[in-house]
Point group: C2
Chain length 220, copies 2
DNA sequence: AAATAAATTTAGACAAATCTAAAACACAAC
DNA sequence: GTTGTGTTTTAGATTTGTCTAAATTTATTT
């Protein structure tokens, strides 16, 4: 309905992501997420409260209003569609898409995004396996599970990766793991919580840190 | 080499376009082009002069420096590649591409643009027939001529349209004229400077105002 | 050459977004 | 229940880009 500045959009999106886990978001959390200072956060929160995008009482933390959530989902839709475009069409690698999408997401032409969506064939997930909101802001919440919680010898498909750095990408590439990879956990070691997994008759060892970042769905 | 703000980029691009015809650009010209006030122009010109992007002595008008020209060509490259993308891939119509490209052009990732260029197959002209600068900022200057200056019965190909409004697009569509259309001028009328042209055995009447906006190359 | 008009620049103000330093507040520990 | 610590907000300053109104310079008339 309305148009928000790049800065406002970045704050809105960050609140959205932080409140997924926390419920209520604090000033310091948001400041560190956005690499800015708490004072700047307070200023912006006042502004967004005035625009009725979030609920906020001084010292009480904040969360997005219904309207704020809708706006956030619009931004996330743009972000993830561009990520998909960059990876799929321009052959960007997995860890490069985020930074560029961070800018493209602020070009807010409804028609641009809906046509892009169509051009891409209405993709459901971005290159990191995160779901892409549809035209109406509806987001697909598939129940995914971390491989640390996966029972032994159960076939599953990688659908999401938590960390999105180039470091984790390097490691995943080396082990032939990507979104869509079929795997099963063969063994878990209590000593260091590492595990052995099987991919196409090959066995790989996975550290605890890595395992925590790999999420799967069961074969359907 | 450096990064410029959206505002700086809009000024740089506008100076580039205005100096094509005029050579030297004046404060008022630029203000009206950018729908801003002369005082704002003066402020920005001082800043761009400091950054060595243009030559400017108070009251004397301005023109881009060598460096400024390079920057301008980079922006125009981005603008026109996005216009091509929007028209070709997302099926935007001719008159819709400019407004969106006006925003996309400011997302300045070298890699993004070069990959986009490759993805599009290194197009040479945008949907309005304007040439797209290559990676090095080199621009193709094909000698085009307005159909008002075209000799009778000479086959030529439409390569550029001056005005880029939806109004002219409506008219051109109605007369089956687009970039690449082959035509020849059959008759010119001195009374109102209108003319009759032939396209694929069909005859169309063209007003003076329209003719002034249609540019062609000779068949090669 | 002086007067007038037009273009351009300066001066001063304002909104957006940020920061630092100081004040106010919440809450846990004593 | 007072004290202390960390969190949050306020106060005041800064940067960027814009504007209006006044002053200045250039150009055009008489
Ligand atoms: Mn962003
Ligand atoms: Mn993503
Ligand atoms: Mn622009
Ligand atoms: Mn164009």
């Amino acid at each position: 309905m309305f148009n928000y500045s790049t800065s406002e959009e970045n704050y809105i999106k960050a609140v959205f992501h932080l409140q997924q886990s926390d419920g209520m978001v604090t000033t310091n959390e948001l400041a560190s997420e956005l690499k800015t200072k708490p004072a700047s956060v307070t200023d912006m929160m006042k502004k967004l409260k005035n625009k009725k995008l979030l609920h906020y009482q001084p010292y009480q933390g904040f969360r997005l209003s219904h309207e704020g959530n809708k706006v956030a989902l619009g931004i996330i839709r743009r972000h993830r569609l561009w990520e998909y475009f960059l990876a799929e069409k321009l052959k960007f690698s997995w860890d490069e898409v985020h930074a560029v999408a961070e800018h493209l997401e602020h070009v807010s032409s409804k028609k641009l995004i809906d046509k892009l969506d169509e051009f891409l064939g209405f993709p459901r997930v971005d290159p990191h396996g995160d779901p892409i909101p549809d035209v109406n802001g509806k987001i697909e919440t598939s129940k995914q599970v971390c491989i640390t919680a996966l029972p032994l010898n159960k076939q599953a498909v990688v659908c999401h990766v938590g960390d999105q750095s180039s470091e984790i990408l390097e490691l995943l590439k080396h082990k032939n793991i990507g979104i869509g990879t079929k795997l099963e956990v063969k063994k878990k070691f209590d000593f260091d919580n590492s595990m052995e997994i099987k991919i196409k008759q090959q066995f790989y060892n996975i550290s605890e840190q890595l395992a925590k970042n790999i999420f799967v769905k069961y074969e359907s």
